[in-house]
């Protein structure tokens, strides 16, 4: 006997047109500006439901196939200015407005990470983002070295998240379990690149903060977005031993995702119950790994060329946390323990490539 749960399909068409222009006002001042017009139609066949405070369906409107259920349009202006301070130095400032019609819902529990994408509907308005950014750019040593430092600030409207107690699996009425509010994100991005030479590569680092404020979640206070990453660092290095043999290394590090862990516990009716405080008030362990790749080219003068790659993904075999669950201790009665599950450690591979 099988029980079938069918989540309703949602169909939509998104269209856009844009116009932009670049103007060079003086040798040191140029600007790019334009506007994008986006149009989003949710189309049937489908049913729109109205819900009461208990998330129960109280009314519905049915739509035929191809019938427009709801429509949104937005103008998305964008402008950027480039000020050249010297041959190697420039400043940049920009403003963008963006409309996003697909929303990502993430469950903040660490027990089972699940992401759901939902389109804008009659109940879910598009996300609107206003972004300001400023940047400083400088090249060194005859453009061998590129350096940039950028800052940004985003204001986000109609960001959505699950309400407390929302069912996150097989929820046929997910729209009833969503609340909308505002978000903000700001940060500083550092970038340094060496373009030429036996040793080349780049370093990028971002320091940022992304948070939401939604009435009904976290007592209406600001809380970290699930994908907020305070630190995000990438170091990429390539070294050419010869014109056939090279080694590349990539080291990635970022702050763990924001998650909701229990802060205490109690018993009710003899059963253990976890007690929660703030939404996304904790962090998964930081993520970092090193990838190595040794590349060997065959004879490049042949018609059929081959090469080999010997790689090690996660070369130092770090078990980055995929999920963290909680359970009664297996060794100490009455105690609770946190268990980290990692998917895999080092993944070596050998690749043979042929080009003809």
């Amino acid at each position: 006997f099988n029980i079938e749960i069918v989540l309703p399909e949602k169909r939509a068409i998104e269209s856009a047109a844009y116009i932009s222009n670049e103007s060079v006002f003086t040798p040191w001042l140029s600007a790019e500006y334009g506007v994008r017009f986006s149009l989003f139609n949710q189309i049937g066949e489908g049913t729109h439901y109205e819900y009461n405070d208990l998330n129960e369906r109280i009314d519905s409107i049915k739509y035929e196939k191809g019938e427009i259920m709801t429509k949104y349009w937005n103008l998305e202006p964008r402008v950027s200015a480039n000020i050249r301070l010297s041959r190697n130095t420039s400043l940049k400032a920009s403003y963008n407005r963006m409309a996003q019609y697909l929303h990502l819902l993430s469950n903040s529990t660490s027990g089972q990470p699940t992401d759901t994408w939902v389109p804008s509907t009659t109940s879910i308005e598009p996300v609107l983002v206003d972004q300001l950014s400023f940047g400083f750019y400088r090249n060194f040593l005859d453009n061998q070295i590129e350096f940039s430092l950028e800052s940004y600030y985003k204001k986000i409207n109609n960001i959505i998240d699950y309400e407390d107690g929302a069912e996150v699996m097989f929820n046929q009425d997910v729209e009833a379990s969503i609340l909308a509010g505002e978000g903000r994100s700001y940060g500083l991005e550092f970038y340094l690149k060496k373009k030429y030479g036996k040793l080349n590569g780049w370093i990028s680092y971002t320091l940022s903060n992304t948070e939401n404020k939604i009435e009904g979640i976290n007592f209406g206070h600001w809380y970290p977005s699930s994908y907020d990453k305070t630190h995000d660092l990438a170091i990429v290095a390539n070294y050419e031993f010869t014109n056939r043999l090279s080694l590349s290394a990539t080291w990635i590090y970022y702050t763990g995702n924001a998650v909701t862990f229990p802060s205490g516990k109690y018993n009710y009716n003899g059963l253990p119950i976890a007690y929660y405080t703030e939404r996304n008030g904790y962090r998964m362990p930081d993520y970092h790994r090193l990838d190595l790749n040794l590349h060997l080219d065959g004879n490049k003068n042949r018609k059929v060329q081959s090469s080999w790659d010997l790689s090690a993904y996660n070369a130092y075999n770090r078990y980055n946390a995929y999920v963290i669950t909680f359970r009664q201790s297996e060794t100490i009665p009455g105690e609770t323990e946190a268990v980290k599950l990692a998917l895999f450690g080092i993944v070596p591979s050998l690749t043979w490539n042929i080009k003809f």
Binding site: N107, G264, I273, A274, Y282, A338, V339, L341, V347
Partner: protein, 269 residues
């Protein structure tokens, strides 16, 4: 120009997962008041009061022994619950009467907390039947070789009230259920009958099945549904983590509820 490549991965290493017990530093939080209040029909009120405790370590509960607890009914009659031991309080003379509203007030140093409930009439059993389960798994698929029986309970709904019921089906050897079975009266069968069948339990011929049905108010019904999301020591993964809503205010965990109860036993012959 065509390119292709052959990748040989050491697949065994690829899918080698790892489970490890780790230490997590939890935020320091003020303990919350936990209240488990019950008023049964024809009985005095009882209340268990304690604080939440450290999440990871085994600690003795921190009982609240100095609260001022008053039960009052809609007619203004009051009864003070006296602390007996280990955070357990009991009333003396005000007993639960059906179709009556009650208020429990808890006075603590932190503040005063108050919750309301209504005691509804005990359920009226219309019939209890049992039959072989239509969902029994075949023995070759891991099911029992003995016939599994389901018990069907039918309740005569009281249409003068909005009713909710908490059900429990058990045998003498049953392990405590890790969830609550709560139903409402929104979709009765003809004749205002409410029916429930124990598809999720397995009973066998010769079993003595105990059935307990408690009438609860709507607030308690939603509380038990929410408790199903949070029972256990950690997030279930099926819902976003949260604390079930208490009728004693935002600063209290737990619930105060009035219930009437009916028990019976059936022998599966």
């Amino acid at each position: 120009m065509k390119k292709f490549g052959i990748i040989v991965m050491f697949a065994g290493l690829l899918f080698y997962g790892c489970e490890e017990v780790i230490e997590i530093d939890l935020n320091s939080v003020n303990p919350m008041v936990v209240a488990e209040g019950n008023l049964m029909k024809d009985s005095v009120a009882q209340l268990n009061l304690s604080y939440t405790r450290d999440y990871f370590h085994k600690e003795d509960p921190v009982y609240i022994t100095d609260a001022t607890v008053i039960l009052s009914d809609e007619n203004g009659i009051t009864d003070q619950l006296i602390h007996v031991a280990n955070g357990f309080y009991r009333g003396s003379h005000l007993k639960g009467q059906v179709r009556t509203d009650y208020t429990l007030t808890i006075g603590l140093e932190e503040g005063e907390y108050s919750g309301e409930t209504r005691l509804l009439p005990e359920p009226d059993f219309f019939s209890i039947t049992w039959a072989p389960s239509i969902f029994q798994r075949p023995a070759h698929a891991g099911g029992s070789s003995d016939t599994v029986y389901n018990v069907t309970l039918t309740i005569q709904d009281d249409t003068t009230e909005v009713n909710h019921y908490l059900l429990n089906f058990y045998t003498p050897s049953s392990e405590p259920r890790g969830f609550y079975l709560a139903i409402d009266d929104k979709y009765p069968l003809p004749g205002n009958l409410l029916q429930f069948t124990t598809f999720m339990f397995e009973f066998y011929r010769g079993d003595t099945v105990g059935i307990t049905v408690q009438s609860i108010d709507e607030g308690a019904y939603w509380f038990f549904n929410q408790m199903n999301d949070v029972i256990g020591v950690g997030p279930s993964g099926f819902s976003t983590p949260y604390n079930p809503k208490s009728n004693l205010g935002e600063d209290v965990l737990g619930y105060f509820m009035a219930r009437s109860r009916k028990d019976t036993i059936v022998f599966l012959r």
